[in-house]
């Protein structure tokens, strides 16, 4: 039981370090058991160091850095326990253009084995997608689906 948790924890940790470095273009991150002797009741600390920066508490990271770190953990969990499909609602909101590109690149690779439905306002994320569906409310309060193309004024 404890042994199993430690193994799984180790695997997710490896994925997290790898995905973080990939999304951040370097740097390092890991999950640390606060109480290694009591694995089943221990809290988990997140340690994240963007490239070139010094290791600090994640509370000091910027909004975009925190979002990208959370995305790295999400993908680490999905690497270990794959879901057949994934619905992500605006998880790219805090990312700058460059991070949106890294995120999109990673998603494209991941989408070989997982189907994604992404709700987004970001042009970069739209460009990384295979299909675009538009939701419109031409009649106020009533949603309908419309066809959209990337050239339309739909992205920020």
């Amino acid at each position: 039981m404890e042994k199993k948790f430690k193994e799984e924890f180790g695997i997710i940790n490896k994925h997290f370090s790898r995905v973080f470095a990939q999304l951040f273009g370097g740097g390092r991150a890991e999950l640390v058991l606060e109480d290694p002797d009591n694995v089943l009741t221990s809290g988990i600390e997140i340690v994240a160091q963007p490239p070139g920066k010094k290791l600090q508490s994640i509370s000091l990271l910027s909004g975009g850095e925190k979002a990208l770190t959370a995305i790295s953990i999400l993908f680490a969990i999905l690497e270990h326990k794959p879901a057949p499909f994934c619905v992500l609602d605006e998880i790219d909101a805090a990312l700058d253009e460059s991070n949106v590109q890294s995120f999109g690149k990673y998603l494209r690779k991941f989408s070989e084995k997982t189907q994604f439905v992404l709700i987004t306002h970001r042009r970069g994320t739209m460009e990384s997608s295979d299909v675009l569906y538009g939701v419109a409310m031409e009649e106020k309060g009533v949603s309908r689906m419309v066809s959209v193309r990337l050239e339309d004024d739909i992205a920020s």
């Binding site: 988990i44 979002a67 326990k81 909101a93 994604f116 439905v117 709700i119 994320t125 106020k140 009533v142």
Partner: protein, 165 residues
Amino acid sequence: MLLKKLEMYGFKSFADRIEIEFDKGITAIVGPNGSGKSNVADAIRWVLGEQSAKSLRGNKMEDIIFSGTQQRKPLGFAEVSLTLDNSDHALPVDFTEVTITRRLFRSGESEYYINRSSCRLKDIVELFMDTGVGKEGYSIIGQGRIEEILSTQPENRRLVFEEAA
């Protein structure tokens, strides 16, 4: 398992019958603020068996039924159907295509179907258990919720990993 089609009628702002087909790969849903994008995610969550109105941004479950506009009357029920490709039999049934349907009436009555056979909510929930989809796992991340993965409570974080591990 792959998503094939989502059909909605009377679910939140989708007053008219709507159909969305999904392909492999990445589908992006776009549109202005308040147009209904997150409502699509709510519909998927709901048809998979979500029982908490709060998780669907409502106060009571009845809030997910189209409540009308200044031009239209409210509807009497909401219905969502999700069709999945089950060729890999990730869902423990013989069908290679599975359609789950959930209906809620304003009276509070609910109906559930798996491939048009009436069933209970727990049958739908159990169908998806161990597939990585639904309440367990990380397959649906709601708007503004991604940072919760970093939750400052180490205890909460533990639960996260217990679900994943």
